[in-house]
Assembly symmetry: C2
């Protein structure tokens, strides 16, 4: 193909990704040198770069770390090298003179309704549960439906394990896995790598083959369309939790159990989630133990502190129905206090549960590890 | 929930999306006024805004339009109002002093390996084929596998129509639908709204229920990981086409035909695609008419001009096997010339085909319309 035929493509490229184009077409001014971001060194140190000649201050905000200032060179490129970082996926963004920016040079992005972040993968050994390995892979199904409960068109995802055959007779247990505030329904697969983690655990015999259902976590979507402050509105948050539970129990669950080969028994149903989804798991699961015998909360956020009102009929008789109640939080998470409070209250009520505290802040690094440790316990 | 318990979330919010937070926490300096972008007026004029006080020039690059300069106000906010725009989805980005930026205030993003763009939806009447309507929705399946042909872990998507039942006996025709250079395998659903378009066409009886298989279009992934210039490398582009065809015919197609209820007859298989995927459709389909009786090319890019070499055995005997050969391009697309050349050559060989020229540049606005007009013709 002649270069001439490609000129329209090149023109688009020159505008849309001026920085990421290794060979730029001739321009009136001297083009800036090609830069790369992020750049991962052999020692797992990572260098982030942003060309922004006119900015007076640029900070790097890396998931799990405090914002740190970047340094400008004489070409107008800001950079910083951090680490060595533990192998993992990290969200990050730049704050340039108060404007939050994703990395123009990096195609990896985290889907999110509020906090736009780029993402960097520091690769690790195949033993890490989120690394894609040469093992059988399950399938991720994207479903769309009109919710009568909420009054909108919405979606949910279903992971089926590699061996799943819709024409077969085997019935599978189901983990309902809930995302956090500001995520969309793809959060647990796109960022949490839940399908990769399950593929690995199942192939190693560490987790039972299971379905994982990942619904949209907003019963009242204005909680997130209003912006970050929506979650601080007590009445809105409460309505969000109520309508989420109703949509899950009366819409998503019946659709899943009709379409898929599922075991319809509380001992074959688990519910777990992170942050807002952790609260939704507790509120939905512990108030309906005839439906869910396995409940997990990862860095739960959004409960009222008035647990007697939120869990009105929960007492030690729950122990006969619960197979596992797993309450986890990172020790550097600002929500560690309320999570310890939840566990104190459970203890005061005589309800069996597993306390999990691990290093870390309010991050996906904590939640990927939570899922990797929680899923193997289920349906035993 | 107390505000105190939310402080860690608020701290994250203050950094990650300082601009999109309607109520910002107190800060030492006077916070800038809250701004909105994009803002869609009742008249379908759209205002784009970017806070960037230190930039000296900011351009708006809107899909289907030439870049236009934005104006700065005394608060450091750049803005421009364009339109009225026809109801549709439009990609856009900002070019701030040579740095391409997505819109920090808009969560809608187009997935792409090279050209990061935000996206704005100018809503239209339900009759537009890409508007989500209250009709039965199909399902989008995301598959993962290790490719022996390419040597990597890769993915493909499969749309199944609303009525599809894996336990039923009905067999369905299959459209293989290919994305363009720089897209990922989700391009046709995430940006092209192929699942929404099929839902609407099927519910109106305008298209036959069909499966749509959307594979990753890179047979040689370095064509895109190398950056925009990869597509200009004739040898690499040729290897990319060859290996793509091999992965499609020997890996994706057998997996699809094993897992799904498909009709395995050339008259029940179509192949179509946009730009690079248009060339892949012609190269794969027209060189294997025993497999594909329906072939579509939308704004094809990347053919060599040496059609006799690329289609060595194609002659008018193809007319007995081809049910449809549909060659489309926008009249303002820089690739209109080569597409007219393809059609001239087909004519010179006596091969029946349908010429389609519509207004428009090298854009998804053209390709969504192409799919909406092409799919109803299939499998009749």
């Amino acid at each position: 193909m002649s270069l001439r035929a490609l000129l329209p493509l090149i023109a688009i490229a020159a505008f849309s990704s001026a920085q990421s184009q290794p060979a730029r077409p001739a321009a009136p001014a001297m083009p800036p040198p090609a830069i790369v971001s992020p750049e991962i060194g052999a020692d797992n140190r990572v260098t982030f770069r942003l060309r922004d000649p006119n900015a007076t201050e640029v900070l790097l905000g890396l998931e799990g770390s405090k914002p740190v200032p970047m340094q400008k060179d004489d070409q107008g490129t800001w950079s910083i090298t951090v680490g060595p970082l533990d192998p993992d996926f990290y969200g990050y963004s730049f704050l340039a003179d108060g404007v939050a920016l994703v990395d123009p040079l990096n195609w990896m992005m985290k889907p999110n309704f509020l906090y736009k972040q780029s993402e960097v993968h520091v690769p690790g050994p195949p033993s890490l549960p989120w690394e894609v390995n040469d093992v059988p892979h399950g399938e991720v199904h994207h479903h769309f439906y009109k919710s009568a409960v909420v009054g909108d068109q919405r979606d949910y995802y279903v992971y089926t394990p590699p061996e799943y055959d819709p024409r077969g007779e085997t019935k599978y247990p189901v983990l309902y896995l809930l995302h956090g505030f500001s995520d969309d329904a793809s959060g647990w697969t796109a960022v949490g790598r839940a399908n990769v983690i399950l593929d690995n655990l199942i192939s190693q015999g560490k987790a039972k083959p299971m379905l994982v259902v990942m619904p949209l976590g907003y019963g009242a979507p204005e909680i997130v369309t209003r912006g970050p402050s929506g979650f601080n509105d007590d009445a809105l948050r409460s309505r969000n939790f109520d309508k989420f539970r109703s949509a899950l129990l009366t819409e998503v669950m019946p659709q899943v159990e009709k379409e898929y080969r599922t075991s319809e028994d509380s001992r074959a149903r688990a519910i777990a989630g992170l942050s807002m989804g952790g609260s939704e798991s507790l509120l939905t699961g512990l108030n309906d133990l005839d439906k869910f015998a396995w409940v997990g909360s990862f860095s739960s956020g959004g409960l009222s502190h008035d647990f007697n009102t939120e869990f009105p009929s929960l007492d030690s008789s729950a122990n006969a129905k619960l197979r596992l109640l797993w309450v986890a939080c990172g020790t550097d998470d600002g929500l560690i206090g309320i999570n310890r409070g939840v566990r104190e209250w459970l203890k005061s009520k005589g309800i069996n549960h597993t306390d999990i505290e691990t290093p870390g802040m309010h991050t996906w690094m904590v939640w990927r590890r939570n899922l990797s440790n929680f899923a193997p316990l289920l349906f035993r």
